[in-house]
């Protein structure tokens, strides 16, 4: 499946839009709806990756709306430390994407040089459609994945240092998510925050964000049937 790791802030924004939104839209949202200011902020945030990302996205229909995720077969995604909330989509083709592709690594660095030169041949050689995601993974990860026990596949296919990237546009609607995942120990913390709040205790600002995100996930469960899963 496809997964993406997000912060409590992004959970709140996606809850507001009822869908996963792309980085430029998020920057515009942060800028209070000012598109020009949002795009300036987006450009500044990308630093040396800006030209590479723009050139890569120019190859696609709706490229500026791409969502970047990782192929995931059971874990918390490669970026839990940046965002403890992991959104998953088992079959992105059911989202009727205008663009989708599977790549054997980080597209921001793999296909466009720092000078902005696109290696189109390499993209053509390496890209796979969603239906061929397993083949893309095998070609990239063999021999590590061949012969490994099944219980290690999740870690081999998706770790913080190595992952199969999936890009899709536009972002899925919340009802198209398969599940939201958090580490079990983090879910325990979120439940503890919920308990403290109901007991009348004051939470810090960051704790309030975390609890708000947890409640948004529970709302997605109630409204869209998206389960909240604990991962060991």
């Amino acid at each position: 499946m496809l997964s993406t790791n997000i912060s409590a802030y992004k959970v709140a924004v996606f809850d507001e839009y009822q869908r996963v939104i792309d980085a430029r839209s998020l920057a515009t949202h942060k800028a209070g709806g000012d598109r020009a200011a949002g795009l300036r902020a987006f450009r500044a945030s990308q630093a040396e990756w800006f030209t590479r990302r723009v050139r890569f996205e120019a190859l696609w229909v709706d490229g500026r709306k791409l969502i970047y995720g990782a192929m995931n077969c059971g874990g918390l995604g490669p970026d839990e430390k940046y965002g403890p909330f992991c959104l998953t989509v088992a079959d992105p083709m059911r989202c009727n994407p205008t663009a989708i592709g599977v790549f054997p690594g980080n597209t921001a660095e793999r296909y466009v040089s720092l000078a902005g030169v696109v290696d189109r041949d390499r993209i053509d050689r390496e890209i796979g459609p969603w239906e061929q995601r397993a083949a893309v993974a095998i070609l990239e990860l063999a021999p590590g994945v061949l012969g490994a026990h099944r219980h290690r596949w999740s870690e081999i296919v998706c770790s913080k240092d190595r992952f199969i990237e999936v890009v899709i546009a536009p972002g899925p609607e919340l009802g198209q998510l398969t599940a939201t995942r958090c580490r079990g120990t983090y879910l325990e913390r979120l439940e503890a925050l919920e308990f403290r709040k109901l007991a009348g205790e004051a939470l810090t600002e960051t704790e309030t964000w975390e609890l708000s995100a947890f409640h948004a996930l529970q709302r997605w469960r109630r409204l869209h049937g998206v389960p909240v899963e604990a991962v060991a």
Binding site: F195, T206, A213, R221, R222
Partner: protein
């Protein structure tokens, strides 16, 4: 990958965080960068400037670069910046379903087993106000049963252990006063 030099400030620095601030990047007084995760998520992790810039480019972290006097000061800055004013105010109890109520009740029961009496009672009473509790006899009865269990339970003495931090010490003091 290019290597853009990062300024090394004096003292502690809150370097970057998403607007919600549950995870953040800080520099210690030796100039070492740390990615600090919330409790329950593995970490903290020593990182380099490439990871810092990737956090900004790919994960929505914002550069802060506020110099602080101590780790406590870093946390104060983090709390100040992670303002929740933009969060919509919701009465979650109004939205809870039976599964939410059971989850909270399970946690309250765990807290009671650990010696907490007052807060589980307060929480259980609040759950009774939820429309989902009033609409579901089974859940309503479970909450009442739990309250009855709290009424009948002997006052527990919390396990004696050195407090891990000031907050726990304060909580333990409150429980002792109740006992």
């Amino acid at each position: 990958m290019s290597s853009v030099a990062e300024p090394v400030g004096e003292g502690f620095t809150l370097v970057a965080m998403p607007p919600s601030g549950e995870t953040y990047i800080a520099r210690d007084d030796h100039g070492v960068l740390w990615l600090i995760t919330p409790p329950g998520v593995p970490g903290p992790e020593r990182i380099d400037t490439v990871v810092l810039r990737r956090a900004v480019a790919e994960h929505g972290f914002e550069r802060i670069d506020r110099v602080c006097d101590s780790w406590a000061d870093v946390d104060r800055a983090r709390q100040e910046l992670a303002t929740t004013l933009e969060l919509p105010q919701r009465d979650e109890l109004e939205e809870f379903d039976a599964e939410d109520l059971r989850r909270v009740l399970r946690h309250a029961a765990r807290m009671h087993v650990q010696g907490d009496v007052l807060r589980p009672r307060r929480v259980a009473h609040s759950l009774l106000r939820a429309p989902a509790a009033k609409a579901d006899d089974e859940v309503y009865t479970a909450i009442l049963d739990f309250l009855e269990q709290l009424d009948n339970a002997p006052l527990l003495t919390p396990a004696v252990a050195p407090p891990a931090d000031a907050q726990k010490a304060e909580a333990r003091q409150r429980m002792l006063l109740v006992s």
